[in-house]
């Protein structure tokens, strides 16, 4: 659209598009946000005074599946951007919808996991593991949820036929956010599930 086209030829002092620069700066700062939560988890790792401990409830196979789902959604996201650049209207809608649906499936896995953990006796207030685990994965889930809402908003715009090469940046920005959420999960999955997911109580220190 005319508005978006203006952005594309916008002259700035840095020579960079300000919206895109803002997104990258935001993502850089969001790294620090998650780093603080991850560091808190690692500091309190193995310090819970009572169970359930990670080894009692963490289910690595199921979370591996949800990790695949999120990776697939990232692939769908790049296809959505690619379709936008080609002005493939049908492709834009399909891939944006696929990205949002895969993200929603990931959230579904997380809701199942949280509920399952609650039934096994782990809540935010049970022990340090519960407090740090739910805070970190919960904030990640909140980011995913924001991304889904954003994607659905873009889908509405796409349904009206208003997305195309001229508005490529609009799709690219949601894509950057979405991939960031994906890389944060790559870190969380490795640290909380693959490495710390087998931690027992403090009597036996983790072998990771």
């Amino acid at each position: 659209m005319a508005h978006a086209a203006e952005h594309a030829i916008e002259e700035t002092t840095t020579g960079l598009n300000h919206r895109k620069m803002l997104m990258w700066v935001f993502l850089g700062s969001d790294c620090m946000f998650f780093a603080a939560l991850v560091a808190t988890y690692m500091v309190y790792r193995g310090q819970s005074l009572t169970g359930p401990y990670p080894i009692d409830i963490i289910d690595v196979p199921i979370t591996t599946i949800s990790t695949f789902v999120l990776l697939c959604s990232s692939f769908a996201m790049v296809q959505a951007l690619s379709a936008t650049n080609r002005d493939d209207q049908r492709g834009i809608r399909i891939w944006l919808l696929a990205t949002a649906v895969l993200g929603a499936i990931f959230i579904g896995f997380q809701i199942y996991e949280f509920n399952h953990f609650k039934n096994l006796g782990l809540t935010l207030g049970t022990n340090l593991f519960g407090a740090t685990f739910f805070t970190l994965t919960g904030f990640h889930g909140a980011h995913v949820t924001v991304g889904i809402i954003w994607l659905l908003g873009m889908l509405v715009v796409a349904m009206k036929g208003r997305l195309g090469p001229a508005s490529s940046l609009d799709v690219e920005l949601v894509g950057l956010y979405w991939h960031f959420v994906d890389i944060v999960w790559i870190i969380i999955f490795t640290l909380l599930y693959l490495i710390a997911g087998f931690d027992a109580g403090p009597a036996a220190l983790p072998g990771g």
Partner: protein, 292 residues
């Protein structure tokens, strides 16, 4: 900058390249999974470095190709990596403050953790090896008649028969009802009494809708010490140290709404204490038991 944008567009990966990237990401995830499954320690000391490197590779691939940093203006990479570097510093600083400068951070946890027995419904899927499996001692309930009924007055019917049993004592049996102060961490009364040598039945009804409670009769002034040892004994022992000589009699650990009749012979005349030994409750949930 139109020129930079056009350059960027023309360098976007093709569909085939995106598929290849996706396959690489999937493959790495599968390798990671089988590095720790089915045995989390099957690759031993290599686990931490291998998983860290694989995860870093995935991270790099996503930001380079899916987020186009490889094809985009370098400034974007600088912005993001600056944030990432600061993030690492945040993490290292937090870990340093609480770990490196604070000695062994798990000493407190190791000394104070209470035994935890995984519930029957715990952990589906993988059978984990649990190195800390501690056998939980079970306390044989002394002379108690547990009735898990939610209706508290049902238990009272058993009391008269038991009280009628001659116990060598002088007095007739006494039946005492005690509950909780709603959901507060308090008993419904702070003073109970009985005749020495008499058969006493304490009908304890846990009226809380959320908390587990027990009723433990202990020597005067020992309630906190008994509770501390009970905490160490764990929930499997109903929060009472097995064989604790300061404990005269105790109920089991009652779920919300549960009740139990505890029958015992009143000890020598004097003042005793009753307390709930569930961790933390002993500070507010206790009272005096006077034997005349």
């Amino acid at each position: 900058m139109s020129s930079s944008h056009q350059t960027e567009q023309s360098h976007h990966p093709t569909f085939q390249q995106y598929v290849l990237v996706a396959i690489i990401l999937f493959a790495i995830t599968i390798v990671e999974f089988f590095a720790i499954f089915p045995d989390p320690n099957q690759i031993g000391a290599a686990k931490l470095p291998v998983l860290t490197i694989l995860s870093a590779i995935k991270f790099a691939i996503v930001i380079m190709f899916y987020m186009h940093l490889k094809f985009d203006d370098r400034m974007f990479t600088v912005f993001f990596l600056a944030g990432l570097a600061l993030a690492f510093l945040v993490g290292i600083a937090v870990l340093a403050m609480f770990t490196a400068l604070d000695g062994e951070p798990r000493a407190f946890a190791s000394a104070h953790a209470v035994p935890y027995a995984k519930g029957e419904h715990g952990g589906h899927g993988v059978e984990h090896i649990k190195p800390t499996a501690v056998p939980i001692p079970t306390v044989p309930p002394a002379v108690t008649t547990p009735t898990e009924s939610a209706a508290p007055d049902v238990t009272a019917t058993t009391a008269p028969e038991q009280a009628a049993e001659p116990s060598g004592g002088s007095g007739a049996g006494a039946s005492i009802d005690i509950g909780t102060d709603g959901d507060a961490l308090k008993f419904s009364t702070e003073a109970l009494s009985a005749e020495t040598g008499s058969q006493v039945t304490v009908n304890f009804n846990n009226g809380s809708s959320v908390n587990q409670h027990n009723w433990v009769l202990v020597q005067n002034g020992t309630k906190d010490a008994v509770a501390t040892d009970g905490t160490a004994a764990g929930p499997g022992a109903a929060w009472v140290k097995p064989g604790d000589e300061r404990v005269i009699v105790s109920s089991g650990l009652l779920n919300p709404g549960g009740s139990e009749a505890v029958t015992f012979t009143a000890p020598a005349a004097g003042t005793y204490q009753f307390v709930c030994t569930f961790p933390g409750h002993n500070f507010t949930m206790f009272g005096d038991f006077t034997v005349n």
